[in-house]
Subunit: 393 residues, 2 copies
Amino acid sequence: MSILAQSIADSVKNSSWIRKMFEAGAQLKEQFGAENVYDFSLGNPDLPAPSCVGDALRELATKAGTPFAFGYMPNAGYPWARQALAKHLTQEQGIALQAEHVLLTCGAAGGLNAVFRALLNHGDQVVTLAPYFVEYSSYVANHGAVLHAVPSQTDTFAPDINALSAAITPKTRILLLNSPNNPTGVIYSKAQLEEIATLLRNKSQEYGRPIFLIADEPYRFLAFDGATVPSLLPLYSHAICVSSFSKNLSLPGVRLGYIAITPNMPEQEELMAGLTLANRILGYVNAPVIGQHIMMHALGSQVDLSIYAARRKAMARVLDESGYEYQMPAGAFYFFPKAPGGDDIAFVQKLQQERILAVPGTGFGCPGHFRLAFCVDEDVIIRSQESFSKARA
Amino acid sequence: MSILAQSIADSVKNSSWIRKMFEAGAQLKEQFGAENVYDFSLGNPDLPAPSCVGDALRELATKAGTPFAFGYMPNAGYPWARQALAKHLTQEQGIALQAEHVLLTCGAAGGLNAVFRALLNHGDQVVTLAPYFVEYSSYVANHGAVLHAVPSQTDTFAPDINALSAAITPKTRILLLNSPNNPTGVIYSKAQLEEIATLLRNKSQEYGRPIFLIADEPYRFLAFDGATVPSLLPLYSHAICVSSFSKNLSLPGVRLGYIAITPNMPEQEELMAGLTLANRILGYVNAPVIGQHIMMHALGSQVDLSIYAARRKAMARVLDESGYEYQMPAGAFYFFPKAPGGDDIAFVQKLQQERILAVPGTGFGCPGHFRLAFCVDEDVIIRSQESFSKARA
């Protein structure tokens, strides 16, 4: 019998194939040299953080000797930080937010866990669209609830409204959306979101309690060819946006994210009290204080998007010329091509033989595809072409 | 019906008296001026962080433009940070620790939650000694388990071994100790800890699986009059130490803590895999990256302890001269005197009328006492004497 909690013991066991895959990748790098391995496996942004991040650290250093410079503050974050963020999000989300509508968190992952802790009872259900970010099922299971992933439409990865409607039951407390999507790069249109909001309004009325709609959107900043990412907050009375500065400022290790709730929510005070309590008792206590200072310097800044745009085109060329089928990502920094032959795990192993590291779609609840993260140097993308062609042959 | 999860709705409701107390305190400060209110309610360290913290920020600022400077790293922390911490703890805990025995966390609160997530199944039991840090019951409830607080011996607050023995059942997975203790300031002796370890060895054998012993020790650095804090790691095969740099470096808002497990544990690899996974999926992902850099500069440094020592003596004089009964704290920065009249909530309100803010023992599972945090200026302590005398009258 394991000494671990059953669900943790199971997860450790089930994730052993991912570990093995990473170990195989590390071995390849050792054998052939890191520069000869094309590593598209990780969503760890490689662009340097904007210069305002260093400025923030230098300024904070001048105050480091002041009492309480790194002290506790209210669990929702410094009032000045919440106010500045609310002002920023008012522009971004197109709806007037006040400080009391936002809460600073330990990254988007901490934000999602706080929302789930605040809302979910044991046995509740969270619905999401497949493919989906692999950690969602763990975040939901942390709080004794169950994730139900509804397949998106084949090829386009658009929401399948009929399938969604059939999946929602009286146990459903939350619908979780991720747009721009990891791993597909799809951005849901305003019409699609309105259709989803209507569905949830009807289901909420039918079951006599609100179903919450959560937008997980750390890739909002990264939409290509002039695409826009519609906001959910103005569209639905029980919408919650969770996001972070991990990707747009290239600082995922800092752990700074936030939750924003729509000011149209009748129970907004109750929800914010619950979220603040959850943020505290889950042990985040408060979003890291230094991250809050960085945010004040960096609101409105971001990494150079033209670099990601060029990489996206380069990766598309590589895939075109090697004959892969894929949908051009509208946002985020991932491609999600079809696995030639259909078996994504087998094909990812074939890619490894050609010194390409990728992640099988099975890990995202969508077998038959594989994910390529293009937060790597453009030169690596270009040089990978021959290997992609060989693997395809 | 609340929109919140039942346990969160209950907690929000139950904590309303604490909020009211804090609001009353804030009102007092507005009415009489902050300098005329004696606020002993919060454990928010007021001493400035050591100068090495500012140095760390300045040095990090020079690297802020490097790719991955704030990127993801392994979920247990940077290998160099784990190694340095293991070396430091080897000295402190008196047992040889390697990097693979330590894991960096989002504060001690994040560390405790990661341990509980990794070890507890729904319905399991965690035993602790009362009085205890008020958040423990929430941390345990987060993971579907139940906290059972066993009263300590009256007056001395020493562990009551017979009561402890009676409280441990086949459902008990963890015994959680906090020494130096918040709120009592008690430090458990080596003999007491050995007695507890023997009890757990016997119970583990009886029930056929290990009961874990967790030492929560953020106040280890603060022991007065030459007192020492014995380590649990060498004493018991299933001991885990959880701590943070919040108090000794005065940076609780940074959220940097750690878990250290004894190298004597047969299942150490399995446990560390489970803790690392729990750290990831609870949404901490990794201990804040900037905190890890600060730690490298600050290991071995701490705030000026002589200031806390002087305050402790000043507070003892104030309580002596106003006729309060208390046990002199051996460590940490709290006094836990008896509430004159016996009703701690009523007496804390009486203190408020004299412009003194304190926390009732009821909040720590120990009615009849109240807690005074002496992380405030010595002058405030001295000036509070008259108010303490009036409240006593």
